[in-house]
Each structure stands twice: as structure tokens, then as C-alpha cells.
């Protein structure tokens, strides 16, 4: 019987809920593991889980410098979608979507995946044509996509949205992916942590990597604030801290820039926004959480940053876009805002690869899109680590694609990370 079930809820309610086991252990580091994963975020934890579940590697440690869920896994806007144009991206993200669809059962942990759909708004006929093209590309890959034509049709789908001809950027339609949605981000971290722990993975919190152990060129472990840990394989999945961590291994340059992305949540409202909506005349994505807060975000601040906080221009920009879309939200008060550090790659697509040094494996370059990728990222990274070769779904995401000129530039803006 699954450890979390209606029966265990009942049973534990009779004992005052005092007998639940902690969701994961707090072990001391062992001197040596088969695999050490640096970074206890969503991607590191899912990698550990799939290493154990799919590849039978359980002598694995996940090293987290803070507490579990303190990084980007707890700082995103929780959107899950697979509405990409390029086949390398759509196949990868659709695999992620399929894993999301079974994730709560697989982990025996409710990640509250809610397939409420995502609607990308179009504001010009040209933009709608572009959406039709992307929608067709998605359907060609077997992914659900529906073109919504006309402001009235959009208005019926999203009450409260200004679909009038007087809107600042009048809406002419949109692209809907019905299977997209949101998930509870903390539950994703906790669920993967618990499921990996149950399979024998050690999750080591407050364990910051301070350097890499080397034998010649080869990486053979890490030095940490909790002592040296040796490993046959060292995998790095640290998102915005990638630049910092690979420098410890002597890799001074990467096709990555770290940028701050802010996110916002309003006070709680009654259910008012039942789908994910994105503004097409600027950059804004919004949904309503199960607690009732409007969760939204926009552009990165646009300059290199490792500070987990941003500046006012983006706050003003995002708020004005939101109000242009939903005039009725103009008096809603902001509850919180925060920042996370994005690992912006040079073509806007991720990097999942062996290297850059022997004994080392790297997972980074997620730009804005890391949360929805969490399951597939771990799935493919685990395969790369276990087999020493890329998974078919991430074969295009290798580090040497920049040298070989085979970029996956969804937006076609070139090597300017702040524009992706």
C-alpha cells in the first residue's frame, strides 16, 4: 500500500497525526558515493529520483547549499506547458508533460498538477498567423493546440480580460494548449525528495560545495562545508549558480549569463482566472493559485545579476501590462515579489551534457523555462549520467552545439541572452 493514501490518513488521524515519518531523512554525508549531484533544486532531485528508479543507481547524494526548495524550484510562477515550435524543444517538453500527467501517482505525492490550459494572446493578424504555424508544428508532433480566432472567442474563455476594440493592444485571438497548466512548486521539490530518499538517495541540506577534487583532469569528488565527498561521477544542476560552481572546477567561461527574474503574487481573491494567460504585446504570464493569489511575471531585469532581487522598472512594466489586460485588477494589492537567478543560455535552450571535464556532468541553461522541464530534465540527465551518453530527447542540448553552430534558437534572436 502506498505510504500516503486515504487509509494512512485515516489511521494517522486516530493517533493525532503524531506517527508520520519525516518526508526525508537527514543523513550525514558518506565519504564516497557513486554519483554526487550538486544542487538540490527540482532538477537535481528529479535526476536523483530517476537515477534510482530507472537506472538502479541508489548510492547517490544530492547536495543543497541551503534548505530544500530555497532556489528556483520555489521561486517560479509554476507554469507547465509544451507549446514550442522547434522539434528538439517540443519533443523534450512534451515528454516532460507526459511525466507531469502521471507524477502525483508516480511519486505518491500530490504535486497538484492542474491542467487548466495556457492561452497565448495574439494582438495582430501577423502574430495570429505565427501562432497558427506554431500550433500546427505542435499538432504535427502530437501535442494538443487550438487556435482561437476573434476577440469574442477569447473573451468567452477568459472572463475579465479586456477584449474590446479600445484595449491598449486589442486582442485578435490566441493559441490554446488545453493540457498545459500549473503545479504546486514546493510539492514538486518535496515529492521528488521524498521519493528519492525512499529509494536510498541521501539528501544533504546545508552542504555547500566549495571546490572540486581532481585527479589530473578528472573530477573525483567535491569539497563541501560538511567535508570532502568522493564520487565516481559529479553532476552539476545549479541553474543560476552555474557560472559560480563551474569556476570552482577551473572552467572560467560558459555560454551562459546569470540574470534576475522577478515574480509577483497578489492578495487572495475568489476564483477569477481559471487558465494561464500570456500577454502577446509585451511579456507577461499570469495564473491564479489554489490559494487565490494572482501569480505573474514578465521579463528578466535585463542585466547580469546574481542578486535574488530586482529593480522597479520591471515591476512597473509588468503591473502596467497586467492592468492593460485585466482593467478590473487595477485595485488588487500586491502581496509579495521576489527574484530568482536564471541561467540564460546563448540560444535560449538548455544544456544537458557530459563534461565539461572528465567525471563531470552538467545541466543548465534553463532560461525562464526550468520549472516545466523538471521531470524531463531529471529523466534525460539521469540517463546521461548513468550511460555516459545523451538521451535521445536531449541529444541536441549538448554543450558543443555552440561550437558546431547547431543552435536551438526558438525566438531566433541570436547570442543575446537577455532577449531570450
Amino acid at each position: 500500500m502506498a505510504e500516503y493514501s486515504v487509509f494512512s490518513l485515516l489511521k494517522n488521524s486516530f493517533s493525532g497525526n503524531r506517527d508520520w515519518k519525516p518526508a526525508w531523512r537527514k543523513p550525514d554525508p558518506k565519504p564516497e558515493y557513486d554519483v554526487v549531484i550538486v544542487g538540490g533544486g527540482g532538477h537535481g532531485l528529479s535526476t536523483a529520483y530517476y537515477l534510482a528508479k530507472e537506472h538502479g543507481l541508489t548510492n547517490v547524494a544530492v547536495l543543497e547549499k541551503g534548505w530544500l526548495g530555497s532556489g528556483n524550484i520555489g521561486r517560479n510562477t509554476t507554469i507547465v506547458r509544451s507549446n514550442y515550435l522547434l522539434p528538439e524543444n517540443s519533443r523534450f517538453y512534451e515528454h516532460s508533460m507526459k511525466l507531469w500527467e502521471g507524477l502525483s501517482h508516480d511519486l505518491n505525492y500530490n504535486v497538484m498538477f492542474s491542467q487548466r490550459g495556457i492561452l497565448n494572446l495574439a494582438h495582430t493578424p501577423g502574430q495570429l498567423d505565427d501562432f497558427a504555424r506554431r500550433g500546427n508544428a505542435m499538432r504535427h508532433e502530437g501535442i494538443d493546440a487550438e487556435l482561437v480566432v476573434g476577440a469574442e472567442a477569447v473573451g468567452r474563455m477568459v472572463p475579465g480580460l479586456d477584449v474590446s476594440a479600445n484595449a491598449r493592444f486589442p486582442i485578435v485571438g490566441g493559441l490554446m494548449q488545453p493540457r498545459a497548466g500549473t503545479a504546486r512548486h514546493d510539492a514538486v521539490a518535496w515529492g521528488y525528495a521524498r521519493a528519492a530518499d525512499r529509494r536510498g538517495v541521501d539528501i544533504l541540506e546545508n552542504c555547500e560545495v566549495t571546490g572540486f577534487l581532481r585527479e589530473g583532469d578528472r573530477v573525483v569528488g567535491v569539497t563541501t562545508t560538511r567535508g570532502d565527498i568522493r564520487a565516481r561521477k559529479v553532476a552539476v544542476a545549479v541553474a543560476g549558480s552555474t557560472g559560480r560552481v563551474v569556476k570552482l572546477a577551473g572552467v572560467d567561461e560558459m555560454p551562459i549569463e546569470s540574470h534576475v527574474l522577478q515574480a509577483f503574487v497578489s492578495e487572495s481573491l475568489k476564483p477569477v482566472l481559471h487558465t494561464v494567460v500570456t500577454f502577446g504585446a509585451g511579456h507577461l504570464y499570469a495564473s491564479q493559485s489554489d490559494k487565490g493569489g494572482l501569480v505573474f511575471g514578465g521579463d528578466i531585469d535585463g542585466y547580469n545579476s546574481y542578486a535574488q532581487r530586482g529593480n522597479l522598472p520591471v515591476v512597473e512594466d509588468v503591473a502596467s501590462e497586467f492592468v492593460a489586460m485585466f482593467p478590473g485588477f487595477s485595485r488588487v494589492r500586491l502581496l509579495r515579489s521576489w527574484g530568482g537567478i536564471m541561467d540564460m543560455s546563448m540560444d535560449g535552450s538548455p544544456i544537458i551534457t557530459t563534461g565539461p571535464l572528465p567525471g563531470m556532468y552538467l545541466n543548465c541553461g534553463w532560461c525562464y523555462g526550468g520549472f516545466k522541464a523538471t521531470p524531463a530534465s531529471g529523466w534525460c540527465f539521469a540517463h546521461t549520467i548513468a550511460r555516459d551518453e545523451p538521451h535521445a530527447l536531449s541529444a541536441a542540448f549538448t554543450l558543443d552545439r555552440f561550437r558546431r553552430g547547431i543552435l536551438i534558437d526558438e525566438k531566433g534572436v541570436g547570442a543575446t541572452p537577455r532577449l531570450h
Binding site: T242, G243, R244, D252, E253, M254, P255, I256, E257, S258, G302, Y303, N304, S305, Y306, A307, N311, L312, P313, E316, M346, F402, R403, A415, T416, R418
Partner: protein, 87 residues
Amino acid sequence: MLIACPYCGPRDVGEFTYQGDANRKRPDPASPAGAEWERYVYDRTNAAGEHREYWQHSGGCRAHLVVTRNTVTHAISSVTLVRGDDA
């Protein structure tokens, strides 16, 4: 964040446009494609700490600037004109 333009004094960051990493050195334009160009186009030091970068005072005097800014604290230690910058 305030950036002290050499001409206009301290002004809000909203008046400026970021133009990227100033640590990179453009190879000789006549040189053939190869590792040097690749590095220039794709690789970044991405420093956590002092970072030299280009900004333009696009909403002011339009001067192109080299700003040295700490990417962890956002503190700015120097602002100079691009003209005459030979670092």
C-alpha cells in the same frame, strides 16, 4: 539602481539600456571564423562580483558607458565613457 552618468549625474536605471558584457574582445574583423570568434560570440565570464558592462544613457544624453558593477550587490564602482576606454 542609480547609474551616475558622467554628463548627467546619478539617474534612475530606467533611463539606461543594457548593452552587455564589456569583458569580451572582438577579434580582428578580417580574421577567419574559428575558436577566437566562437569564444567572442558565445562564451562569457558571467562573474559573480565585479563585472564590466556596457550601458547606454538612452533616455538621457545617449552616451555609451562602461559601468563596473557588482552582480551580487548591484553596487556600482565606476562609470566611464566608452570613448577612450582601452581596457
